[in-house]
Symmetry: D2
Subunit: 162 residues, 4 copies
Amino acid sequence: MAIRVFVTGGTFDKEYDEVHGALFFKDTHLPEMLRLGRCRLDVSVRTLMMVDSLDMTDEDRATVVDHCRRCEETHVVVTHGTDTMVRTAEALATQVTGKTIVLTGAMIPFAFGSSDGLFNLGSALSFVQVLPAGVYIAMNGRWFAWNDVRKNRDTGVFEART
Amino acid sequence: MAIRVFVTGGTFDKEYDEVHGALFFKDTHLPEMLRLGRCRLDVSVRTLMMVDSLDMTDEDRATVVDHCRRCEETHVVVTHGTDTMVRTAEALATQVTGKTIVLTGAMIPFAFGSSDGLFNLGSALSFVQVLPAGVYIAMNGRWFAWNDVRKNRDTGVFEART
Amino acid sequence: MAIRVFVTGGTFDKEYDEVHGALFFKDTHLPEMLRLGRCRLDVSVRTLMMVDSLDMTDEDRATVVDHCRRCEETHVVVTHGTDTMVRTAEALATQVTGKTIVLTGAMIPFAFGSSDGLFNLGSALSFVQVLPAGVYIAMNGRWFAWNDVRKNRDTGVFEART
Amino acid sequence: MAIRVFVTGGTFDKEYDEVHGALFFKDTHLPEMLRLGRCRLDVSVRTLMMVDSLDMTDEDRATVVDHCRRCEETHVVVTHGTDTMVRTAEALATQVTGKTIVLTGAMIPFAFGSSDGLFNLGSALSFVQVLPAGVYIAMNGRWFAWNDVRKNRDTGVFEART
């Protein structure tokens, strides 16, 4: 089964700029993470953008939707900042059909020794293989349908709305 | 959904004895891994044994089968050394019914900065939630039915037999 | 030989707040770093403040000077943000005599898998044992007298003025 | 000041063979460690051998002595397994004069997320710059003259004989 991974940035891929002491984006760590995880799936990674999800514009979101719709693969993972992940899931759900799309992210940058990024990546790549067509969020080992999930702003944890 | 994790040892949980320069087992790292992965599943961890899977006896294997059969949870993950994981999967498949059981492991000890352990744990905990009743192996981001998998001894990679 | 370590914050001890995605200070990592380094020196650690060195006031600096002057130990390491480390070294040099004081820091927070913090700590604790009384900065494996050092703002590297 | 680093193997540079589950040597991690430590010293690294120090023969030891004697640099760090480090120090002390030579090692392989290796490397590179000509061992943040040190086999810690 061919799986497409679209990278959009988010905490997953943030770096620490040691000269200025600030966080920034450079390249995605996805290929390195797949290698470290000894992943043997047929995965193609493509970076669509490298943005903080709070800075993601409607145009950015349209780009994500467009790529998910047009890619050949019917199983898609999208790495995404957690703050607006639910909004992008909603955009995808209303505009893409017949595909299993799983959004995932991280609370800690991979470059900072993140453990949740790798855990979530393993989780998202697994859910995308077995869940039926639809749009889902995979975080904290759990999966949620796009219309039954919210991020708890106080704890950073994703939870069911219902 | 309540998930039971049974720990049996394997590379996952090996430690480095810095005084003697040898590998050994102490306690499982599963709780720490779940914490680092920010896992929010309802998971209960129980250590059944701490052995290299090459040293796993028929009696040990019977213990694993027994616990998988008798535990209340119908979704079970077993952490296991990779060398005889397929054999234990077979024992489980012939003796336990009506449960989804996923065996997983690691090529690198978690204590050595393993990345595949955390990736595989995220993967196994995801597959166990959505795969139908049966016995599976989750390694390298992939899942295999118990009777269609072998470990390639040269590469350390799990692959379909067919 | 008794060595005193005074902690003032700086990049060394910065943490990543995973809920807000920002850097902040909590507790010092010095004890953990000494443990990981298997340090067997007679070291007493005391936190004086936890600040970014750009936010260090004259009053803060006076506190550092005061503690270095009054502590019983004649060998002192000060962990410090790199941006104003030279200024604090100058304050110490003009107000404390008869002691070997080594300031050190890090370019990457220890919590982000910093390697330079541990390297610099090993370095500073070594220089402080063998350099004659005076005030020094230990960074990048090198040592500098307090009045012959500057931080290169473009590269983040400390270098001799002369 | 030009510093020569001679690599001889030891725990420092051990790797984990994930296919066979055993420890082995491949290449030295010294260049990577120097890079992570943001080391800006004028250091030249040369690998003389890659052996467990228990397997180091008299011939191997003669090779180390020979290189330390003949190299242009007067400041030399030797990375070495801890088990026979004292013996090599003795060989160096009786056959090389006019140079500052510091032996160091690690209790945990760098590849296993070692923290003591990096701490010890920072320490050894610092001591070698300031100690007078002679042969020393730098471990656990401390330095010892070659003829006043032993490794405590029970704890793995180096300590003064006197």
